[in-house]
Symmetry: C2
Subunit: 551 residues, 2 copies
Amino acid sequence: MGVDFGTLSARAVVVRASDGAELGSGVGEYAHGAIERTLPPTGQPLPPDWALQDPADWRSALGTAVRAALRDAGADPSAVVGIGTDFTACTVLPVLRDGTPLCEVPALRDRPHAWPKLWKHHAAQPQADRINDLAHARKEEWISRYGGRISSEWQFAKALQLLEEDPDTYQRTERWIEAADWMIWQLCGAETRNACTAGYKGIYQDGHYPSEDYLAALNPTFADFARTRLDGVPLSPLGSRAGTMTAEGAALTGLPEGIAVATGNVDAHVTAPAARAIASGQMLAIMGTSTCHVMNGDRLAAVPGICGVVDGGIIAGKSGYEAGQSAVGDIFAWWTGLGVPRSYLADAAERGQDLHEYLSGRCEGRPVGAHGLIALDWMGGNRSILVDHHLSGVIAGLTLATTPEEVYLALVESTAYGTRVIVESFEAAGLPVTEFIVAGGLKRNRMLMQVYADVLRRPVSVASSDQAPAVGSAIHAAVAAGLHADVAEAAEVMGRVERAAYVPDPARADAYDELFAEYRTLHDYFSGRPEWAGNDVLHRLRNRRNGATTA
Amino acid sequence: MGVDFGTLSARAVVVRASDGAELGSGVGEYAHGAIERTLPPTGQPLPPDWALQDPADWRSALGTAVRAALRDAGADPSAVVGIGTDFTACTVLPVLRDGTPLCEVPALRDRPHAWPKLWKHHAAQPQADRINDLAHARKEEWISRYGGRISSEWQFAKALQLLEEDPDTYQRTERWIEAADWMIWQLCGAETRNACTAGYKGIYQDGHYPSEDYLAALNPTFADFARTRLDGVPLSPLGSRAGTMTAEGAALTGLPEGIAVATGNVDAHVTAPAARAIASGQMLAIMGTSTCHVMNGDRLAAVPGICGVVDGGIIAGKSGYEAGQSAVGDIFAWWTGLGVPRSYLADAAERGQDLHEYLSGRCEGRPVGAHGLIALDWMGGNRSILVDHHLSGVIAGLTLATTPEEVYLALVESTAYGTRVIVESFEAAGLPVTEFIVAGGLKRNRMLMQVYADVLRRPVSVASSDQAPAVGSAIHAAVAAGLHADVAEAAEVMGRVERAAYVPDPARADAYDELFAEYRTLHDYFSGRPEWAGNDVLHRLRNRRNGATTA
């Protein structure tokens, strides 16, 4: 059984360990989804850039999804030998020593800081800025492993925000744990910490977290944070067994007590074996609301602006690289959510298409650049390579003749340009990207996939499964249960990919080379970076907006 | 009787000459509106940036509007003593010596170049560029009267495009005439040329058109253009009588034969007396699909980037200045036309509001900058002060939380910033702008008017009439009929304005000062001008778009 905890729902899949066949699947929605406007118990408004979740939603969605998958497969629960799970990251929460989320402690339920902070909580940028400035000032070795910048999305920035904005709740925080590991705790009754989130999101490098000296310099009260709230549990390698299913876990899921529970994992990284993307140079992009790029390498290299490189971060024994784009599908959904002409709604309904299919269809076959547009894909900030979540999006070239589908196409292209910036950063650091493999919901958009092939000038392969992260979790479950020797072997048997499903059109790729040069010029200008003679207008607009909203 | 020929319809109003009371009004729509996609008789697609009209629509709309106004007023046609008309400009057409439009010559009906070119026909930019380069190279004195740049919208650029793209049709062109004057020809049977369009749109300065030498250097075949196709008729001052109504004019309009027909005029300029905006320093903005700014001064000064300064161009005896913004209301209509969420449509319908009122209402009272956005208002190009119709719009600061009404507000603000650039250019040239007076449909949007007051840091006065251009034409008719001594005297009796209807809020004006500085920085950057270290990306995008569309 593999279970993938996404941003809005959990998906479970029953996979046959002998050949990877997907026998059945099920979904459980989170009742509160992403909590971005008001805190559920009180209705109090949340500040700008906040994003929370409710752990009760995760438990409930797990039970629903696993039971639905078993029913769909017509499977006897007793035939399930193991469960693996993966989660969005860095989604992190404060808990008591027994794993109780602080937001479930009655006295703390109305404190926003007691709730899990979702990966896209972007309100800890001031803390992230200080973390980075101090790391560079002190020449901390670990900073180069994170592209030179720790993200505001990650464990330390979010924890420091908690400490500084709500010190009482911080004092009640006995452990600070990734949702990926917290979920495993619910299943096997023991706290574990997986090597992947500890490395990428928890600044664990070369056997230790950042030093107490460093943390004290950030904030004296923060000095013992890593020792008391993170450390104390040996890290678990990916593919290992975290424990066995407890009675409580069995009650939650409807699965048998005593089956193997795999170590927690991250939705992106866990997908690599499912898409057979584990060789060095195979870049896997998991494209949904956001995009996460993971790629194995044979050595630890410093790549400016990536999320991180972690020994064994994707698969034990390799150097796992991660980069990302904060918003991709979210941008397209934002655009269609602003509205389309009524005639489009009627036309799409008549064809039985959703708006994404419909707008994509209207764009297919157009000459490159016929829309006259170029956009910066920063509507959700920029995770790589600028690592700056207070940037925002730009659309240039608009005319009175510009149509909704033209903007849609320009937004699709902008995300492809954003990916190309990342690919070029890897290559500039001496890590060739030999293949681009896509998993996630956006792989079904043929227009988008072709744009990526043309913009990247590379064949684009496509993971076969529509539930590739959940299959990846099932692969880890199969290894934890002892059915395969290791994750690489399991991937050979259980993973599926369609190689070179899209190939670049040379003429269109030439045109996109020119448009990408325009993108890069605007990227550097609007980054606001002094070294690129940037205009810092986007930060000034953001500061004004957040000031006005708070006031 | 005053008749205002707009972009999509003609509006007639019956005005009492003794006190300016509007007794009745009527509208006639143009059956073909603005012809921008395909040529009506053949359905052949038009190239990008084209905009044509059908003169039959003008005649038909005139008859409909005048008769409707008479009915609405319950007026006996025999009580009408004169008619004045105004037109969009530069809307210009090729005609035979007897005034027959070439597009009504059967053999030429399928030639796009035989049709009237609407003011917003923007396909003559290459010709405009050559007109400007050559004028500067030859140090032609007249170029400084046009802010240093002749627009692609005007008579010479459009005529040169005709010559170079369809020489046969050019050879059949016996006269090249503004629609403003052509309409007068239909009423009084004689060709006249008004001082306003000849000056602003026809490069008539100090008693003559550009020299044959200059025109020959543009294109040898163009040498005699002004002498043969424009000149040969003495210019008529504004407020003068062009002639008397012919039997044909009477049949067209239902008005009596023999009544006074006033000299033709332009929709913007004719409005100044109706809004009592004729003193030096009173800037009148006619705000509708586009905005035209007109202001009288006591002397001829060179203002970079304005449309022009013409002796007697607004009122005889004063130096009339004109500037403009190519698209204003058109931008808001474009945005709402892209679509809004379904819930907005339902909500607006329930309140009985159109989308503009509805979105404006959702913006009212928000702190300045709370949307985090800034836009460049160039979706229809930039008329002043960049005089470049191949620029395009930009929106920066977009996030996943950005709403349709926030973009709407940013677009409204962008047009206010565009106006401020124009106001500051006048003041930098030593022409103080002491009052800002608004006429045109957008004056009814209270949110927008307040934004203008705040951004401009000036009281905004509002013309009282909803038909101010048509009332201005009626004022000219009253003068032509001899009921008032001159236009200034008639304006005192017949014009109406609400002074300082909106006053700036100092705190909001301070915030807008800061945002205007951001606008100006982006304005200079995206202008592409080397002297401002501009990025010429918008022109490159436009060239690629137009190339792709044509291919």
